[in-house]
């Protein structure tokens, strides 16, 4: 008879190896849909690799794609550590982007030294506000934040369309639902000539290092982990649980808001309703692949970005739908979940006689 038994502790090799293995298994499983679409999987993987690493431009595209995913991945990782289920990063991203174009596209014509920090701070604040509301509803009324943040995503998206056809619409935009461009001095500078990768990446990396340090070393990080592991015990130990939740809500929402700022002020230059192809939701997968560690988020974001950029390029070359990338991303989430089980439990054989005792 087989019995499931908790491991006394998870071997370190497993903590690191399981996410990598999950990602590889998900990539390997993509051979099935590739075959179903009539493509040669080996050739497809080759195209994907070339699409990501084949040129400096390709790598720059991958890093550009990874930038928002680092922000939203951090947003999910921090919140999930405290067991605050922020599934609303998609909406918070758009709140940040709206704040960025509201002040950045001509409302305030001030030097870049002031305008850019203002855009960043207001964008983060708007995203944070988007998470403080559901956290308040959770703490005060017991309303499950999973449902409220998910529903808020739809409300914010409709609000965005209203703004883009109203107050935020570009007067010179010929009636298209898009915002006026962010002023030049409000833009995050590009990192390389003629490449799209921009300073948002540096901001994201710095914040990942900061988050890693605060989570592991600071009193704040200790409280947050305590709340996540056992809220009742943390409360008993005198930790202000609600305060910790609001704190992490502000950080998580703020990080998601920065994803929007970075996409608008670093990449696109103006805001449309299709700014994000689901970066908020993909951030959840990034965080889970990273084992909720901020340093891991960077690596996971690079992987997921490679999948998207590689699949796009493979799709152009071979005519296979680029939804393949979404398949790989969702399968790697499911694989890493199962991997988490293997890390925590082991199967032991129990002889029938002994089991009966």
């Amino acid at each position: 008879m087989i019995r499931i038994e908790a491991r006394p502790s998870t071997p370190r090799a497993m903590t690191l190896g399981i996410p990598v293995l999950s990602a590889l298994i998900a990539l390997a499983l993509a051979a099935i849909p590739l075959l179903a679409a009539g493509a040669n999987p080996i050739a497809a993987y080759g195209e994907m690799l070339r699409g990501v690493f084949g040129s400096v431009f390709a790598v720059s595209e991958m890093l550009t794609r990874a930038t928002p995913l680092i922000f939203t991945g951090l947003a999910a990782a921090l919140a999930f550590r405290a067991r605050l289920w922020n599934i609303g990063a998609e909406g918070q991203l758009y709140l940040g982007a709206m704040a960025a174009v509201a002040v950045g596209s001509g409302a305030l014509d001030i030097p870049g030294l002031f305008l850019l920090p203002l855009i960043v701070v207001l964008g983060a604040a708007a995203g944070a506000a988007g998470m403080v509301v559901p956290t308040f509803l959770k703490v005060r009324f017991g309303a499950d934040e999973v449902v409220t943040t998910l529903l808020l995503n739809f409300i914010i998206l409709i609000f965005l369309q209203m703004m883009l056809e109203g107050p935020l619409q570009d007067p010179m935009g010929l009636g298209w639902p898009q915002s006026a461009p962010v002023l030049d001095q409000g833009m995050l500078p590009p990192l390389m000539d003629r490449m799209r990768v921009h300073a948002g990446l540096i901001v994201a990396l710095v914040l990942a290092v900061l988050a890693q340090f605060m989570l592991a070393r600071s009193v704040w990080g200790f409280r947050l982990r305590a709340v996540g592991e056992n809220a009742a015990a943390a409360r008993h130990a005198g930790i202000g649980v609600n305060r910790s939740l609001f704190g992490v809500a502000i950080l998580s929402g703020g990080l998601a808001g920065l994803a929007g700022v970075s996409e608008v002020a670093g990449l696109k230059g103006y805001l449309t309703a299709d700014l994000s192809p689901g970066f908020g939701y993909t951030g959840i997968v990034v965080a889970m692949l990273a084992g909720l560690s901020p340093a891991g988020v960077v690596i996971a974001a690079l992987f997921i970005a490679s999948v998207f950029v590689g699949a796009d390029s493979m799709s152009r070359a071979m005519g296979v739908s680029s939804f393949l990338a979404d398949l790989v991303v969702s399968m790697s989430l499911l694989c890493v979940l199962v991997g988490g089980f293997i890390a925590r439990y082991r199967l032991v054989w129990v002889r029938a006689g002994k089991a009966a005792r």
Partner: protein, 314 residues
């Protein structure tokens, strides 16, 4: 004010409310069965998508309308089984697994759609379910147009409310499902299989959810579009709390939601010149949040909801 009264008294308004409520009835019932057994199923949004896509595609490939309904239910059951394996014997996070199922089911649907129809800008249309014209009853004043000119899937939804109520409240199986969501140890002590009951409930609930999706492509519309589910699954997760996990109240919640949604469409038409139309589009989502806020504290959650159970561990 007169306009509002006119709307509320019109047959077409209530017919539309019931039509809008139909996918939600399936969805809330499905979520209710899963949660009564102790497992949150956030795969619902993706299962709606897969139900909508697979049912429609089966009909397009020539399976017939009821064949499409069957295919949708089976597809929903398949993704439900996946969620069941991850959350019941493996006891993994129900939140993360559910979101994973939603992402997976959605991408499977979108990839299959694009692979089957690579170069179409608009999807092929099918001949959807037609309103059932019940002789005599359809000619009744008011009730005739509201009730007796709905499609067969709306009737199936109403039938399911009665069936789920009956199973949950009047059969040993229903009692066992509720017990497994409240106190799995006691179910185990009686020699019943906790795993079997929970997994069975998730599979059955997910099949129902997929019918909600199938209604969209096979009755409300006649084709599949990206983004057509548009949060309806998440609304169901809010409504099931509003409904206190009871089938009758689930029907009421879905109907109320349908009525508000039908009302906002009509108000938008009347007042569209005064306020941006988007204000009205937000209403259903805001109402769902309000319903959740008002009922969350007093809600009688299944006691073992979200708690995994392992055999042989007390």
């Amino acid at each position: 004010m007169m306009d509002l009264l006119n709307i509320l008294l019109s047959e077409s308004f209530w017919a539309a409310s019931l039509r809008i409520a139909t996918p939600l009835i399936f969805g809330v019932l499905g979520a209710l069965i899963c949660e009564r057994a102790g497992v949150l199923n956030l795969g619902i949004e993706g299962i709606f998508v897969v139900g909508a896509m697979s049912g429609w595609m089966a009909v397009w490939l020539g399976a017939g309308l009821w064949g499409g309904v069957l295919v949708a239910a089976l597809a929903g059951a398949f993704f439900g089984l996946l969620h069941a394996i991850l959350t019941v014997p493996l006891g993994l996070s129900q939140h993360v697994s559910g979101l994973g199922i939603t992402l997976f089911a959605t991408s499977v649907s979108y990839f299959s759609y694009r692979t089957a129809l690579p170069n179409v800008s608009s999807p092929p249309r099918i001949e959807p379910f037609q309103p059932l014209d019940v002789p005599i009853l359809s000619d009744l004043p008011f009730l005739g147009p509201v009730l007796f000119q709905q499609t067969a899937l709306t009737w199936l939804a109403l039938l399911m409310v009665a069936l789920v109520w009956y199973v949950m409240n009047r059969t040993a199986l229903g009692v066992a499902i509720q017990a497994v969501g409240d106190n799995p140890d006691s179910v185990d002590a009686q020699g019943l299989s906790v795993y079997g009951l929970r997994m069975g409930a998730i599979v059955a609930g997910s099949a129902l959810m997929a019918l909600g999706g199938a209604f969209l492509t096979m009755s409300a519309f006649d084709a599949f579009f990206f983004g057509m589910v548009n949060g309806r699954g998440w609304v169901c997760i809010a409504l099931v709390i509003f409904a206190s996990w009871r089938p009758g109240k689930a029907l009421l919640g879905a109907l109320l939601f349908g009525a508000f949604d039908a009302l906002q469409v009509r108000l938008q038409a009347e007042m569209g010149a005064l306020v941006p139309g988007q204000i009205f589009l937000m209403v259903p989502y805001i109402l769902s949040i309000i319903a959740l806020v008002l009922t969350a504290r007093s809600a009688d959650y299944p006691r073992a909801l979200l708690t995994p159970w392992f055999k042989g561990q007390r």
